[in-house]
Protein backbone atom coordinates (compact mmCIF):
# COMPACT_ATOMS: atom_id res chain seq x y z
CA UNK A 1 0.00 0.00 0.00
CA UNK A 2 1.60 3.25 -1.06
CA UNK A 3 1.82 6.31 1.17
CA UNK A 4 -0.28 8.23 -1.35
CA UNK A 5 -3.11 5.74 -1.05
CA UNK A 6 -2.92 5.74 2.76
CA UNK A 7 -3.10 9.52 2.82
CA UNK A 8 -5.97 9.51 0.35
CA UNK A 9 -7.87 6.91 2.38
CA UNK A 10 -7.31 8.86 5.60
CA UNK A 11 -8.63 12.01 3.92
CA UNK A 12 -11.77 10.15 2.81
CA UNK A 13 -12.30 8.88 6.37
CA UNK A 14 -11.72 12.33 7.86
CA UNK A 15 -14.20 13.88 5.43
CA UNK A 16 -16.78 11.17 6.19
CA UNK A 17 -16.37 11.77 9.93
CA UNK A 18 -16.79 15.53 9.45
CA UNK A 19 -19.75 15.24 7.05
CA UNK A 20 -21.57 12.79 9.33
CA UNK A 21 -20.95 14.91 12.45
CA UNK A 22 -19.51 11.73 13.96
CA UNK A 23 -22.94 10.08 13.67
CA UNK A 24 -23.30 10.67 17.41
CA UNK A 25 -27.10 10.63 17.26
CA UNK A 26 -26.86 6.82 17.03
CA UNK A 27 -24.92 6.20 20.27
CA UNK A 28 -27.26 8.69 21.98
CA UNK A 29 -30.24 6.72 20.61
CA UNK A 30 -28.56 3.56 21.88
CA UNK A 31 -28.20 5.13 25.32
CA UNK A 32 -31.91 5.99 25.37
CA UNK A 33 -32.76 2.39 24.39
CA UNK A 34 -30.69 0.90 27.22
CA UNK A 35 -32.04 3.42 29.76
CA UNK A 36 -35.57 2.41 28.70
CA UNK A 37 -34.67 -1.26 29.17
CA UNK A 38 -33.27 -0.53 32.63
CA UNK A 39 -36.54 1.22 33.52
CA UNK A 40 -38.68 -1.62 32.11
CA UNK A 41 -36.76 -4.17 34.20
CA UNK A 42 -38.72 -2.89 37.24
CA UNK A 43 -41.97 -4.08 35.63
CA UNK A 44 -41.12 -7.04 33.43
CA UNK A 45 -39.96 -10.55 34.33
CA UNK A 46 -36.73 -11.67 32.57
CA UNK A 47 -38.40 -13.58 29.72
CA UNK A 48 -40.69 -10.67 28.86
CA UNK A 49 -37.83 -8.22 29.27
CA UNK A 50 -35.78 -10.23 26.79
CA UNK A 51 -38.53 -10.25 24.16
CA UNK A 52 -39.18 -6.54 24.72
CA UNK A 53 -35.46 -5.80 24.34
CA UNK A 54 -35.47 -7.65 21.04
CA UNK A 55 -38.54 -5.77 19.80
CA UNK A 56 -37.38 -2.35 21.01
CA UNK A 57 -33.98 -2.70 19.29
CA UNK A 58 -35.82 -1.71 16.10
CA UNK A 59 -36.29 1.72 17.64
CA UNK A 60 -32.58 2.62 17.81
CA UNK A 61 -31.99 3.53 14.18
CA UNK A 62 -35.25 5.49 13.71
CA UNK A 63 -34.51 7.40 16.92
CA UNK A 64 -31.01 8.11 15.60
CA UNK A 65 -32.59 9.53 12.42
CA UNK A 66 -34.79 11.88 14.45
CA UNK A 67 -31.87 13.03 16.61
CA UNK A 68 -29.70 13.96 13.59
CA UNK A 69 -30.78 17.59 13.51
CA UNK A 70 -30.81 18.36 17.25
CA UNK A 71 -27.36 16.79 17.67
CA UNK A 72 -25.93 18.16 14.41
CA UNK A 73 -24.93 14.72 13.16
CA UNK A 74 -26.38 14.27 9.68
CA UNK A 75 -24.99 10.77 9.21
CA UNK A 76 -27.53 9.90 6.50
CA UNK A 77 -26.54 12.89 4.35
CA UNK A 78 -22.95 11.81 3.82
CA UNK A 79 -22.35 10.18 0.43
CA UNK A 80 -18.90 8.88 1.26
CA UNK A 81 -17.75 5.80 -0.71
CA UNK A 82 -16.90 4.06 2.58
CA UNK A 83 -20.33 4.60 4.14
CA UNK A 84 -21.39 1.24 2.72
CA UNK A 85 -18.87 -0.53 4.96
CA UNK A 86 -20.71 0.72 8.06
CA UNK A 87 -24.04 -0.35 6.60
CA UNK A 88 -22.72 -3.86 6.00
CA UNK A 89 -21.41 -4.09 9.56
CA UNK A 90 -24.88 -3.14 10.88
CA UNK A 91 -26.40 -5.84 8.70
CA UNK A 92 -23.84 -8.29 10.08
CA UNK A 93 -24.79 -7.78 13.73
CA UNK A 94 -28.43 -8.35 12.82
CA UNK A 95 -27.49 -11.79 11.57
CA UNK A 96 -26.94 -12.73 15.23
CA UNK A 97 -30.65 -12.60 16.05
CA UNK A 98 -31.22 -16.35 15.69
CA UNK A 99 -28.46 -16.85 18.30
CA UNK A 100 -29.94 -14.10 20.52
CA UNK A 101 -33.35 -15.80 20.42
CA UNK A 102 -31.90 -19.10 21.50
CA UNK A 103 -30.21 -17.38 24.42
CA UNK A 104 -33.40 -15.45 25.21
CA UNK A 105 -35.39 -18.67 25.20
CA UNK A 106 -33.02 -20.99 27.05
CA UNK A 107 -31.56 -18.50 29.49
CA UNK A 108 -33.32 -15.13 29.68
CA UNK A 109 -30.85 -14.07 32.39
CA UNK A 110 -28.15 -14.09 29.70
CA UNK A 111 -30.17 -11.80 27.44
CA UNK A 112 -28.53 -8.55 28.67
CA UNK A 113 -25.04 -9.96 28.10
CA UNK A 114 -25.92 -11.41 24.70
CA UNK A 115 -27.53 -8.20 23.46
CA UNK A 116 -24.94 -5.85 24.96
CA UNK A 117 -22.07 -7.71 23.28
CA UNK A 118 -23.91 -8.62 20.07
CA UNK A 119 -24.89 -5.01 19.47
CA UNK A 120 -21.34 -3.71 19.92
CA UNK A 121 -19.67 -5.80 17.21
CA UNK A 122 -20.17 -3.16 14.49
CA UNK A 123 -18.43 -0.44 16.51
CA UNK A 124 -14.83 -1.32 15.54
CA UNK A 125 -15.84 -1.30 11.85
CA UNK A 126 -17.70 2.00 12.11
CA UNK A 127 -14.71 3.38 13.99
CA UNK A 128 -12.48 2.33 11.07
CA UNK A 129 -14.69 4.14 8.56
CA UNK A 130 -14.46 7.30 10.68
CA UNK A 131 -10.81 6.88 11.56
CA UNK A 132 -11.97 7.09 15.17
CA UNK A 133 -10.19 5.47 18.11
CA UNK A 134 -13.08 6.22 20.47
CA UNK A 135 -15.33 3.68 18.72
CA UNK A 136 -12.85 0.82 19.18
CA UNK A 137 -12.21 1.80 22.80
CA UNK A 138 -15.97 1.86 23.42
CA UNK A 139 -16.39 -1.67 22.00
CA UNK A 140 -13.56 -3.10 24.10
CA UNK A 141 -14.65 -1.27 27.25
CA UNK A 142 -18.25 -2.35 26.80
CA UNK A 143 -17.48 -6.03 26.31
CA UNK A 144 -15.19 -5.97 29.34
CA UNK A 145 -17.62 -4.03 31.54
CA UNK A 146 -20.76 -6.07 30.78
CA UNK A 147 -18.85 -9.35 31.12
CA UNK A 148 -17.52 -8.38 34.54
CA UNK A 149 -20.90 -7.04 35.68
CA UNK A 150 -22.82 -10.08 34.48
CA UNK A 151 -20.60 -12.52 36.30
CA UNK A 152 -19.79 -10.43 39.37
CA UNK A 153 -23.11 -8.69 39.93
CA UNK A 154 -25.96 -11.09 39.00
CA UNK A 155 -28.72 -9.08 40.72
CA UNK A 156 -27.83 -6.08 38.54
CA UNK A 157 -28.08 -7.87 35.19
CA UNK A 158 -31.31 -6.18 34.13
CA UNK A 159 -30.78 -2.66 35.50
CA UNK A 160 -27.14 -1.93 36.37
CA UNK A 161 -25.82 -3.62 33.22
CA UNK A 162 -28.14 -1.67 30.86
CA UNK A 163 -27.35 1.58 32.68
CA UNK A 164 -23.64 0.86 32.33
CA UNK A 165 -24.06 0.34 28.58
CA UNK A 166 -26.02 3.61 28.39
CA UNK A 167 -23.27 5.45 30.25
CA UNK A 168 -20.61 3.99 27.93
CA UNK A 169 -22.67 5.11 24.92
CA UNK A 170 -22.86 8.65 26.26
CA UNK A 171 -19.14 8.68 27.00
CA UNK A 172 -18.47 7.48 23.46
CA UNK A 173 -20.70 10.23 22.05
CA UNK A 174 -18.74 12.80 24.08
CA UNK A 175 -15.44 11.29 22.98
CA UNK A 176 -16.46 11.38 19.33
CA UNK A 177 -17.52 15.02 19.68
CA UNK A 178 -14.07 15.79 21.07
CA UNK A 179 -12.39 13.90 18.22
CA UNK A 180 -14.45 15.87 15.70
CA UNK A 181 -13.43 19.16 17.29
CA UNK A 182 -9.78 18.15 17.08
CA UNK A 183 -10.18 17.09 13.46
CA UNK A 184 -11.91 20.37 12.54
CA UNK A 185 -9.08 22.33 14.15
CA UNK A 186 -6.50 20.21 12.30
CA UNK A 187 -8.24 20.74 8.95
CA UNK A 188 -8.56 24.44 9.70
CA UNK A 189 -4.85 24.71 10.45
CA UNK A 190 -4.00 22.79 7.26
CA UNK A 191 -6.16 25.11 5.17
CA UNK A 192 -4.46 28.17 6.74
CA UNK A 193 -1.02 26.70 6.08
CA UNK A 194 -1.91 26.10 2.43
CA UNK A 195 -3.14 29.67 1.86
CA UNK A 196 -0.08 31.16 3.58
CA UNK A 197 2.49 29.26 1.51
CA UNK A 198 5.02 31.65 -0.16
CA UNK A 199 4.59 32.12 -3.96
Amino acid sequence: MTDDFKTQLQNVKDQYYLDAGGGISLPVAGAIYWIALAALSRYLPPADWALTAAALSGMIFPLGLLLQKPLASPFMKSKSPIAGVGLLSVMSINMLWPVHFIVLGISPDAAPLSLAIGMTLHWPVIGWTYGSRVCLIHAIARVAAVSVLWYAFPEGRFDVLPLTVAALYLLAAGGMRWELGRLRRKKGLQATAMTEQPA
Partner: protein, 373 residues
Protein backbone atom coordinates in the same frame (compact mmCIF):
# COMPACT_ATOMS: atom_id res chain seq x y z
CA UNK B 1 -43.58 -1.75 -11.59
CA UNK B 2 -41.55 -4.13 -13.75
CA UNK B 3 -39.85 -1.22 -15.50
CA UNK B 4 -39.02 0.37 -12.16
CA UNK B 5 -37.59 -2.90 -10.83
CA UNK B 6 -35.58 -3.39 -13.99
CA UNK B 7 -34.35 0.20 -13.74
CA UNK B 8 -33.24 -0.32 -10.16
CA UNK B 9 -31.49 -3.61 -11.02
CA UNK B 10 -29.66 -2.34 -14.07
CA UNK B 11 -28.50 0.71 -12.18
CA UNK B 12 -27.14 -1.67 -9.51
CA UNK B 13 -28.95 0.20 -6.76
CA UNK B 14 -31.11 -2.66 -5.42
CA UNK B 15 -29.04 -2.75 -2.23
CA UNK B 16 -30.17 0.79 -1.36
CA UNK B 17 -33.58 -0.65 -0.56
CA UNK B 18 -31.94 -2.55 2.32
CA UNK B 19 -30.69 0.65 3.88
CA UNK B 20 -31.92 1.12 7.49
CA UNK B 21 -33.90 4.22 6.58
CA UNK B 22 -36.04 2.28 4.07
CA UNK B 23 -38.96 0.17 5.34
CA UNK B 24 -38.09 -3.18 3.73
CA UNK B 25 -35.21 -4.14 5.99
CA UNK B 26 -37.49 -3.96 9.03
CA UNK B 27 -39.34 -7.02 7.76
CA UNK B 28 -36.65 -8.95 9.66
CA UNK B 29 -38.72 -8.16 12.76
CA UNK B 30 -41.35 -10.57 11.42
CA UNK B 31 -39.22 -13.12 13.24
CA UNK B 32 -40.72 -11.84 16.50
CA UNK B 33 -44.08 -13.62 16.16
CA UNK B 34 -42.06 -16.81 15.59
CA UNK B 35 -39.76 -16.15 18.58
CA UNK B 36 -41.67 -18.57 20.91
CA UNK B 37 -40.59 -21.45 18.62
CA UNK B 38 -36.96 -20.71 19.45
CA UNK B 39 -37.45 -21.89 23.02
CA UNK B 40 -40.50 -24.09 23.05
CA UNK B 41 -42.99 -25.87 20.89
CA UNK B 42 -46.23 -23.93 21.02
CA UNK B 43 -49.49 -25.48 19.80
CA UNK B 44 -49.71 -26.40 16.13
CA UNK B 45 -52.79 -24.22 15.76
CA UNK B 46 -50.78 -21.20 16.96
CA UNK B 47 -48.13 -21.91 14.34
CA UNK B 48 -50.72 -22.21 11.57
CA UNK B 49 -52.47 -19.01 12.63
CA UNK B 50 -49.13 -17.15 12.84
CA UNK B 51 -48.12 -18.31 9.34
CA UNK B 52 -51.45 -17.28 7.83
CA UNK B 53 -51.34 -13.94 9.67
CA UNK B 54 -47.79 -13.32 8.43
CA UNK B 55 -48.78 -14.06 4.84
CA UNK B 56 -51.77 -11.75 5.10
CA UNK B 57 -49.63 -9.06 6.72
CA UNK B 58 -47.05 -9.27 3.91
CA UNK B 59 -49.76 -8.79 1.26
CA UNK B 60 -51.15 -5.74 3.05
CA UNK B 61 -47.69 -4.29 3.81
CA UNK B 62 -46.41 -4.60 0.24
CA UNK B 63 -49.70 -3.14 -1.05
CA UNK B 64 -49.37 -0.11 1.26
CA UNK B 65 -45.66 0.42 0.47
CA UNK B 66 -46.41 0.48 -3.25
CA UNK B 67 -49.60 2.54 -3.15
CA UNK B 68 -48.68 5.06 -0.43
CA UNK B 69 -52.07 6.74 -0.81
CA UNK B 70 -55.42 6.72 1.05
CA UNK B 71 -55.82 2.97 0.32
CA UNK B 72 -52.93 2.35 2.74
CA UNK B 73 -55.20 3.51 5.57
CA UNK B 74 -57.61 0.54 5.55
CA UNK B 75 -54.67 -1.81 4.88
CA UNK B 76 -52.81 -0.48 7.93
CA UNK B 77 -55.91 -0.66 10.11
CA UNK B 78 -56.37 -4.27 8.98
CA UNK B 79 -52.79 -5.02 10.04
CA UNK B 80 -53.44 -3.37 13.41
CA UNK B 81 -56.57 -5.46 13.87
CA UNK B 82 -54.56 -8.55 12.97
CA UNK B 83 -52.03 -7.63 15.62
CA UNK B 84 -54.59 -7.23 18.38
CA UNK B 85 -56.38 -10.42 17.35
CA UNK B 86 -53.15 -12.45 17.50
CA UNK B 87 -51.79 -10.74 20.62
CA UNK B 88 -53.73 -13.03 22.93
CA UNK B 89 -51.99 -16.18 21.63
CA UNK B 90 -48.68 -14.72 20.46
CA UNK B 91 -47.12 -11.70 22.22
CA UNK B 92 -44.73 -11.26 19.29
CA UNK B 93 -47.70 -10.12 17.21
CA UNK B 94 -47.34 -6.70 18.83
CA UNK B 95 -44.86 -6.02 16.03
CA UNK B 96 -47.84 -5.72 13.64
CA UNK B 97 -49.01 -2.65 15.58
CA UNK B 98 -45.68 -0.97 14.83
CA UNK B 99 -45.71 -1.98 11.17
CA UNK B 100 -49.21 -0.48 10.93
CA UNK B 101 -48.01 2.96 12.07
CA UNK B 102 -45.12 2.79 9.57
CA UNK B 103 -47.62 2.05 6.79
CA UNK B 104 -49.63 5.14 7.79
CA UNK B 105 -46.51 7.32 7.99
CA UNK B 106 -45.49 6.42 4.41
CA UNK B 107 -48.71 7.82 2.90
CA UNK B 108 -47.60 10.58 0.53
CA UNK B 109 -50.51 12.97 0.93
CA UNK B 110 -49.97 14.88 4.18
CA UNK B 111 -53.63 15.20 4.99
CA UNK B 112 -54.26 11.46 4.56
CA UNK B 113 -51.09 10.75 6.50
CA UNK B 114 -52.38 12.76 9.47
CA UNK B 115 -55.78 11.07 9.25
CA UNK B 116 -54.06 7.69 9.11
CA UNK B 117 -51.88 8.39 12.15
CA UNK B 118 -54.89 9.66 14.10
CA UNK B 119 -56.78 6.52 13.11
CA UNK B 120 -53.86 4.38 14.26
CA UNK B 121 -53.84 6.13 17.63
CA UNK B 122 -57.59 5.70 18.06
CA UNK B 123 -57.38 2.02 17.07
CA UNK B 124 -54.47 1.51 19.50
CA UNK B 125 -56.43 2.93 22.43
CA UNK B 126 -59.56 0.99 21.47
CA UNK B 127 -57.59 -2.22 20.92
CA UNK B 128 -55.74 -1.97 24.24
CA UNK B 129 -59.00 -1.38 26.11
CA UNK B 130 -60.83 -4.16 24.28
CA UNK B 131 -58.10 -6.77 24.75
CA UNK B 132 -57.14 -5.72 28.28
CA UNK B 133 -53.53 -4.89 27.41
CA UNK B 134 -51.70 -3.57 30.55
CA UNK B 135 -51.21 0.22 30.56
CA UNK B 136 -47.42 -0.15 30.49
CA UNK B 137 -47.52 -2.14 27.26
CA UNK B 138 -50.01 0.29 25.78
CA UNK B 139 -47.70 3.18 26.66
CA UNK B 140 -44.72 1.31 25.17
CA UNK B 141 -46.64 0.71 21.90
CA UNK B 142 -47.57 4.40 21.83
CA UNK B 143 -44.03 5.70 22.44
CA UNK B 144 -42.44 3.18 20.10
CA UNK B 145 -45.11 3.85 17.48
CA UNK B 146 -44.59 7.63 17.71
CA UNK B 147 -40.84 7.26 17.19
CA UNK B 148 -41.32 4.91 14.24
CA UNK B 149 -43.98 7.18 12.70
CA UNK B 150 -41.79 10.28 12.95
CA UNK B 151 -38.71 8.50 11.60
CA UNK B 152 -40.64 6.83 8.78
CA UNK B 153 -42.25 10.10 7.71
CA UNK B 154 -38.85 11.81 7.79
CA UNK B 155 -37.27 9.02 5.69
CA UNK B 156 -40.11 9.17 3.16
CA UNK B 157 -39.73 12.94 2.74
CA UNK B 158 -35.97 12.54 2.50
CA UNK B 159 -36.39 9.95 -0.28
CA UNK B 160 -38.73 12.25 -2.19
CA UNK B 161 -36.32 15.19 -1.88
CA UNK B 162 -33.48 12.96 -3.05
CA UNK B 163 -35.52 11.79 -6.05
CA UNK B 164 -36.39 15.39 -6.98
CA UNK B 165 -32.76 16.45 -6.58
CA UNK B 166 -31.54 13.59 -8.80
CA UNK B 167 -34.14 14.44 -11.41
CA UNK B 168 -33.13 18.11 -11.35
CA UNK B 169 -29.46 17.21 -11.65
CA UNK B 170 -30.16 14.92 -14.60
CA UNK B 171 -32.31 17.63 -16.16
CA UNK B 172 -29.62 20.27 -15.60
CA UNK B 173 -27.00 17.96 -17.12
CA UNK B 174 -29.19 17.33 -20.16
CA UNK B 175 -29.88 21.07 -20.53
CA UNK B 176 -26.17 21.83 -20.21
CA UNK B 177 -25.42 19.36 -23.00
CA UNK B 178 -28.19 20.84 -25.14
CA UNK B 179 -27.01 24.39 -24.40
CA UNK B 180 -23.47 23.48 -25.39
CA UNK B 181 -24.73 21.84 -28.57
CA UNK B 182 -26.72 24.94 -29.44
CA UNK B 183 -23.79 27.19 -28.60
CA UNK B 184 -21.59 25.26 -31.00
CA UNK B 185 -24.32 25.36 -33.64
CA UNK B 186 -24.78 29.11 -33.23
CA UNK B 187 -21.06 29.84 -33.15
CA UNK B 188 -20.65 27.87 -36.35
CA UNK B 189 -23.58 29.74 -37.88
CA UNK B 190 -22.18 33.11 -36.79
CA UNK B 191 -18.67 32.33 -38.00
CA UNK B 192 -19.44 30.45 -41.17
CA UNK B 193 -22.39 32.65 -42.15
CA UNK B 194 -20.23 35.74 -42.23
CA UNK B 195 -17.16 34.01 -43.61
CA UNK B 196 -18.95 32.25 -46.44
CA UNK B 197 -20.67 35.51 -47.38
CA UNK B 198 -17.29 37.21 -47.68
CA UNK B 199 -15.81 34.24 -49.55
CA UNK B 200 -18.73 34.28 -52.00
CA UNK B 201 -18.31 38.03 -52.63
CA UNK B 202 -14.58 37.73 -53.16
CA UNK B 203 -14.92 34.65 -55.36
CA UNK B 204 -17.48 36.52 -57.47
CA UNK B 205 -15.11 39.50 -57.74
CA UNK B 206 -12.15 37.25 -58.58
CA UNK B 207 -14.23 35.59 -61.29
CA UNK B 208 -15.14 38.96 -62.85
CA UNK B 209 -11.53 40.22 -62.67
CA UNK B 210 -9.95 36.98 -63.90
CA UNK B 211 -9.45 38.13 -67.51
CA UNK B 212 -9.51 41.93 -67.03
CA UNK B 213 -7.15 42.20 -64.07
CA UNK B 214 -5.47 38.84 -63.25
CA UNK B 215 -3.22 40.38 -60.58
CA UNK B 216 -6.18 41.72 -58.67
CA UNK B 217 -8.01 38.41 -59.17
CA UNK B 218 -4.97 36.59 -57.75
CA UNK B 219 -5.00 38.95 -54.74
CA UNK B 220 -8.68 38.20 -54.12
CA UNK B 221 -7.99 34.45 -54.31
CA UNK B 222 -5.13 34.84 -51.80
CA UNK B 223 -7.51 36.73 -49.50
CA UNK B 224 -10.05 33.89 -49.83
CA UNK B 225 -7.31 31.44 -48.86
CA UNK B 226 -6.47 33.48 -45.73
CA UNK B 227 -10.13 33.89 -44.78
CA UNK B 228 -10.53 30.11 -45.08
CA UNK B 229 -7.59 29.51 -42.71
CA UNK B 230 -8.85 32.06 -40.20
CA UNK B 231 -12.34 30.58 -40.33
CA UNK B 232 -10.98 27.09 -39.73
CA UNK B 233 -9.17 28.34 -36.62
CA UNK B 234 -12.30 30.11 -35.40
CA UNK B 235 -14.39 26.99 -35.95
CA UNK B 236 -11.92 24.96 -33.90
CA UNK B 237 -12.08 27.52 -31.10
CA UNK B 238 -15.86 27.58 -31.26
CA UNK B 239 -16.08 23.80 -30.96
CA UNK B 240 -13.64 23.60 -28.08
CA UNK B 241 -14.82 26.85 -26.53
CA UNK B 242 -11.22 27.59 -25.62
CA UNK B 243 -10.48 31.17 -26.51
CA UNK B 244 -12.48 34.36 -26.64
CA UNK B 245 -10.80 36.83 -28.95
CA UNK B 246 -10.56 40.49 -27.93
CA UNK B 247 -13.32 42.64 -29.39
CA UNK B 248 -10.82 44.98 -31.07
CA UNK B 249 -9.26 42.02 -32.89
CA UNK B 250 -12.61 40.66 -34.08
CA UNK B 251 -13.95 44.08 -35.04
CA UNK B 252 -10.71 44.93 -36.86
CA UNK B 253 -10.85 41.75 -38.87
CA UNK B 254 -14.54 42.21 -39.75
CA UNK B 255 -13.89 45.86 -40.69
CA UNK B 256 -11.12 44.67 -43.03
CA UNK B 257 -13.46 42.29 -44.78
CA UNK B 258 -16.17 44.94 -45.12
CA UNK B 259 -13.59 47.29 -46.66
CA UNK B 260 -12.50 44.56 -49.03
CA UNK B 261 -16.13 44.34 -50.06
CA UNK B 262 -16.02 48.03 -50.95
CA UNK B 263 -17.66 49.53 -47.86
CA UNK B 264 -16.43 52.55 -45.97
CA UNK B 265 -15.96 51.44 -42.35
CA UNK B 266 -15.41 53.55 -39.26
CA UNK B 267 -14.30 51.90 -36.03
CA UNK B 268 -14.70 53.68 -32.71
CA UNK B 269 -13.49 51.21 -30.07
CA UNK B 270 -11.56 52.69 -27.15
CA UNK B 271 -8.12 51.12 -26.92
CA UNK B 272 -8.35 50.86 -23.13
CA UNK B 273 -11.75 49.17 -23.05
CA UNK B 274 -11.86 46.76 -20.12
CA UNK B 275 -14.13 43.93 -21.22
CA UNK B 276 -14.66 40.57 -19.60
CA UNK B 277 -14.41 37.46 -21.79
CA UNK B 278 -18.18 37.12 -21.72
CA UNK B 279 -18.77 40.73 -22.82
CA UNK B 280 -16.06 40.52 -25.51
CA UNK B 281 -17.48 37.25 -26.82
CA UNK B 282 -21.04 38.60 -26.87
CA UNK B 283 -20.08 41.85 -28.61
CA UNK B 284 -17.98 39.86 -31.07
CA UNK B 285 -21.09 37.88 -32.01
CA UNK B 286 -23.05 41.09 -32.59
CA UNK B 287 -20.33 42.49 -34.89
CA UNK B 288 -20.20 39.26 -36.90
CA UNK B 289 -23.97 38.93 -37.25
CA UNK B 290 -24.41 42.64 -38.01
CA UNK B 291 -21.66 42.57 -40.64
CA UNK B 292 -23.13 39.44 -42.25
CA UNK B 293 -26.52 41.12 -42.57
CA UNK B 294 -24.91 44.25 -44.03
CA UNK B 295 -23.10 42.21 -46.67
CA UNK B 296 -26.11 40.08 -47.56
CA UNK B 297 -29.07 42.41 -47.35
CA UNK B 298 -28.27 46.04 -46.68
CA UNK B 299 -26.76 47.29 -49.93
CA UNK B 300 -24.95 49.87 -47.83
CA UNK B 301 -21.95 52.09 -48.59
CA UNK B 302 -20.97 53.04 -45.07
CA UNK B 303 -20.77 51.09 -41.80
CA UNK B 304 -19.93 52.45 -38.35
CA UNK B 305 -18.96 50.22 -35.41
CA UNK B 306 -18.69 51.93 -32.02
CA UNK B 307 -18.49 51.10 -28.33
CA UNK B 308 -19.46 53.62 -25.68
CA UNK B 309 -20.95 53.87 -22.20
CA UNK B 310 -24.27 55.44 -21.35
CA UNK B 311 -26.83 55.22 -18.57
CA UNK B 312 -27.99 51.77 -19.69
CA UNK B 313 -24.49 50.36 -19.61
CA UNK B 314 -21.94 49.44 -22.24
CA UNK B 315 -23.39 49.82 -25.73
CA UNK B 316 -22.03 48.40 -28.97
CA UNK B 317 -23.58 49.87 -32.09
CA UNK B 318 -23.22 48.65 -35.67
CA UNK B 319 -25.01 50.99 -38.06
CA UNK B 320 -25.19 51.20 -41.87
CA UNK B 321 -26.76 53.52 -44.42
CA UNK B 322 -28.38 50.83 -46.56
CA UNK B 323 -31.96 49.70 -47.22
CA UNK B 324 -32.98 49.10 -43.62
CA UNK B 325 -35.19 46.22 -42.43
CA UNK B 326 -33.16 44.82 -39.55
CA UNK B 327 -36.17 45.33 -37.31
CA UNK B 328 -37.87 42.52 -39.21
CA UNK B 329 -35.62 40.02 -37.57
CA UNK B 330 -34.67 36.80 -39.30
CA UNK B 331 -33.43 33.61 -37.71
CA UNK B 332 -29.92 34.97 -37.34
CA UNK B 333 -31.05 37.97 -35.27
CA UNK B 334 -33.48 35.82 -33.26
CA UNK B 335 -30.71 33.42 -32.37
CA UNK B 336 -28.40 36.30 -31.52
CA UNK B 337 -31.02 37.95 -29.30
CA UNK B 338 -31.52 34.65 -27.44
CA UNK B 339 -27.81 34.15 -26.89
CA UNK B 340 -27.34 37.69 -25.65
CA UNK B 341 -30.29 37.28 -23.29
CA UNK B 342 -28.57 34.25 -21.77
CA UNK B 343 -25.59 36.50 -21.05
CA UNK B 344 -27.88 39.16 -19.52
CA UNK B 345 -27.66 41.49 -22.51
CA UNK B 346 -30.31 43.09 -24.68
CA UNK B 347 -30.36 43.67 -28.44
CA UNK B 348 -32.21 46.55 -30.08
CA UNK B 349 -32.70 47.57 -33.69
CA UNK B 350 -33.04 51.15 -34.83
CA UNK B 351 -32.53 53.49 -37.78
CA UNK B 352 -28.97 53.55 -39.08
CA UNK B 353 -26.61 56.26 -40.28
CA UNK B 354 -28.18 59.59 -41.30
CA UNK B 355 -31.62 58.23 -40.51
CA UNK B 356 -31.29 55.55 -43.15
CA UNK B 357 -30.41 51.86 -43.08
CA UNK B 358 -30.33 49.86 -39.86
CA UNK B 359 -28.47 49.85 -36.56
CA UNK B 360 -27.96 47.04 -34.09
CA UNK B 361 -27.50 48.11 -30.48
CA UNK B 362 -26.28 45.54 -27.98
CA UNK B 363 -26.39 46.64 -24.34
CA UNK B 364 -24.25 45.11 -21.62
CA UNK B 365 -25.91 46.25 -18.40
CA UNK B 366 -24.23 48.71 -16.06
CA UNK B 367 -22.63 47.56 -12.80
CA UNK B 368 -20.77 44.56 -14.18
CA UNK B 369 -17.32 46.12 -14.04
CA UNK B 370 -16.87 46.20 -17.81
CA UNK B 371 -16.00 49.68 -19.16
CA UNK B 372 -15.46 51.30 -22.52
CA UNK B 373 -12.61 53.39 -21.13
Amino acid sequence: MKARLQNVKTQGRWWRHLSPHRPWIYLVYLVLPFAPWFYGVPAGETLAVTIVATALFLCLFVFAMIRRDWTSLPAALAVQLLGFWLLGVNPGAAVYLIFAVAMMARIRDRQWQRIGLAAWLAALVAGCLATGVPWLYGLAYLVFGAIIAAATAWSARSEEREAVREEMEADAAARAVEAERQRIARDLHDLLGHTLSVVTLKADLANRLFDADPERARAELAAIQQIGRDALAEVREAVTGLRVRPLAEVAGEIAGRLRDAGLEVSLDLPADANLSDMAAGAFGMVVREGATNVLRHAGARRVAISLHTDAAGLVLTLADDGRGGARFAGRGLDGLRQRLAEAGMTLHTARGLDGRGSALRAVWPAGTGDTAS
